[in-house]
């Protein structure tokens, strides 16, 4: 593939950032969820 | 609140701020020299008479914008230092009046600044300003200054009393005032006849400046109250 470096860089960066964001969000979610009682969570 | 009381409040606020300025002379003794220095620094950085003359329009307004932050901070520091803004609000004084009053003060200070900067440009950058261009130049200044004053007062009120507002205010203001920078620079370049442009070419840009000023004037009148509220 021509220009493969730039293309893979773009895909890698984008997916990487999104995955990282998802992971961080999930981790922080579990940490906080353990500290808050279930009845204060309106989505449950 | 009736129109007359808003205006009365505005006059009182403006008079108070201007009196403070006349006593402390911060704008005349610190901000204007700072802006003048910025103009000199530009000359060092650009180091080319032709280039300097060509970009002089932009440089005047850049120096104005940098000074705007200082002026806005000062305008609200006066009031938040001793909780004066809160006292005004609690006393039920019309927020719109405070907005207009502070904007008027800011506008007067800015106009003083811009006149000085234009004089500096004529002297330092050898700008050619002819009487026939004065109408365009003055109209441009008035509308650009009104826009900057409204926007500055609005965002100044938003950042007032917040921690870190010295660094926050430039970050918030610069994206917003970009249209003024573009419009005022182009109109000023027209007035200075740079690149063979005629002064009359400045009018569309003055139109942009006027739209900006009207939009933020109206928005400021309505939103300012919500901003300084607790």
């Amino acid at each position: 593939m021509k220009d493969a470096t730039f293309i893979f860089l773009t895909y890698g960066l984008t997916i990487g950032v999104l995955v990282a964001l998802v992971v961080v969000t999930l981790r922080r979610g579990s940490a906080l969820a353990r500290q808050v009682a279930d009845q204060d969570k309106p989505w449950l | 609140m009736t129109r007359s009381s808003t205006w009365k409040v505005a006059r009182a606020v403006a008079a108070k701020d201007l009196r403070i300025e006349m006593r402390s002379r911060v704008v005349t003794n610190q901000v204007v020299p700072f802006a003048g220095l910025v103009m000199v620094m530009f000359a060092f950085a650009l180091d080319n008479d032709t280039v300097l003359e060509r970009v002089s329009g932009g440089l005047i307004w850049l120096a104005t914008l940098f000074s705007l932050f200082i002026l806005v901070q000062r305008s609200f520091a006066i009031d938040t230092a001793d909780g004066a803004l809160d006292s005004l609000r609690v006393a039920g004084v019309s927020p719109a009046g405070i907005f207009v009053g502070k904007a008027i003060t800011l506008m007067i200070e800015l106009l003083l600044l811009e006149l000085t900067l234009t004089a500096a440009a004529i002297v330092l950058y050898r700008v050619d300003l002819r009487p026939s261009s004065l109408v365009v130049l003055v109209t441009c200044m008035i509308w650009a200054t009104a826009g900057l004053a409204f926007v500055g007062t609005l965002y100044g009120g938003l950042a007032a009393g917040m921690r870190g507002r010295e660094t926050l205010l430039p970050l918030l203001l610069l994206p917003v005032v970009a249209p003024v920078l573009i419009g005022a620079t182009k109109a000023t370049e027209a007035a200075f006849r740079i690149n063979g442009v005629a002064p009359s070419d400045g009018w569309p840009w003055i139109g942009l400046l006027a739209v900006f000023a009207v939009v933020f004037g109206v928005v400021g009148l309505s939103a300012f109250g919500a901003l300084i509220e607790e």
């Binding site: 730039f6 293309i7 960066l13 009682a37 204060d40 | 870190g164």
Partner: protein, 259 residues
């Protein structure tokens, strides 16, 4: 508050340790599936373009992220307007506004980077002063300012109102900026609107991949906003709980001192 949060660290040992619901999990899994397909298709299944060659593959990243960035901006604006209009503090909408802005900033950064890389491949330059790019860069900085304001506020209500006004101002300011930049660039003859996607002939699979890319990224956006607004809610609960505990401490102290 109904629960006595006197124990500082763990409120209830058997609280659900997760923020997901059936809906959010469903959306998340769907997003994962769609995105995987989009990446595979974008990189390997779709053909190269006649004019641009393989660099067109960046389009499947750049266009959807741009779309989401603008969408997030609109969501923040709309949610903020609701906060301003409602008399009672609409903290739920404030959280959506904030979460959408956080995610929007991310997507906008990705848009600018992918666009820059694509531009480097097609025009040979990392940047051009074209109105769309410039306005996007401005939106990015505006968002960052908005997030900064959100992080410096006082009470939740104060923060909500201040941020809401700022977001409403941003919705006003962005079209003004865009219009000014369009006027500005229209003076320069050489600047035809340098859109990277101008000269691409899209065949069926390309169009389909682009379309599903938009769907995949949108689902990701929705999942992220759902989760992050729940995070904000929990942080708010903990913050309030900390305040209440401090107040109770103070009351206990003064009660003890007066004895």
């Amino acid at each position: 508050m109904s629960i006595d949060y006197t124990i500082d660290h763990i409120a209830t040992p058997d609280a659900v340790a997760g923020v997901g619901t059936k809906t959010s999990r469903g959306i998340g899994l769907l997003a994962l599936g769609v995105m995987t397909w989009v990446v595979v298709s974008g990189l390997f299944l779709t053909p190269a373009d006649k004019n641009q060659g393989d660099s067109v593959r960046i389009m499947y990243i750049h266009v959807p992220t741009a779309w989401i960035a603008y969408l997030a901006f609109i969501v923040t604006g709309a949610a903020s307007l609701i906060v301003l209009i409602k008399k009672k503090p609409a903290l739920g909408f404030d959280r959506v506004a904030g979460a959408s802005a956080e995610v929007g900033v991310m997507f906008m950064a990705l848009t600018l980077i992918s666009g820059s890389l694509w531009g480097r491949l097609t025009w040979g330059e990392f940047w051009a002063w074209d109105p769309r790019l410039t306005t996007t860069a401005f939106m990015f900085v505006t968002y960052i300012g908005y997030l900064a304001v959100r992080n410096l506020g006082g009470s939740q209500q104060q923060r909500a109102k201040r941020s809401a006004v700022l977001a409403a101002l941003a919705v006003l300011q962005i079209p003004l900026v865009h219009f000014s930049v369009v006027l500005w660039r229209s003076l320069h003859q050489s600047a035809s609107i340098l859109s990277v996607d101008g000269d691409i002939k899209m065949d069926g699979l390309m169009l389909f991949t682009l379309f599903t890319g938009v769907i995949g990224f949108t689902l990701t956006f929705i999942w992220l906003v759902m989760h992050r607004s729940r995070l904000m809610l929990m942080r708010g609960v903990i913050e309030d709980r900390g305040l209440e505990a401090a107040i109770r401490e103070r009351q206990r102290d003064t009660a003890g001192a007066s004895q």
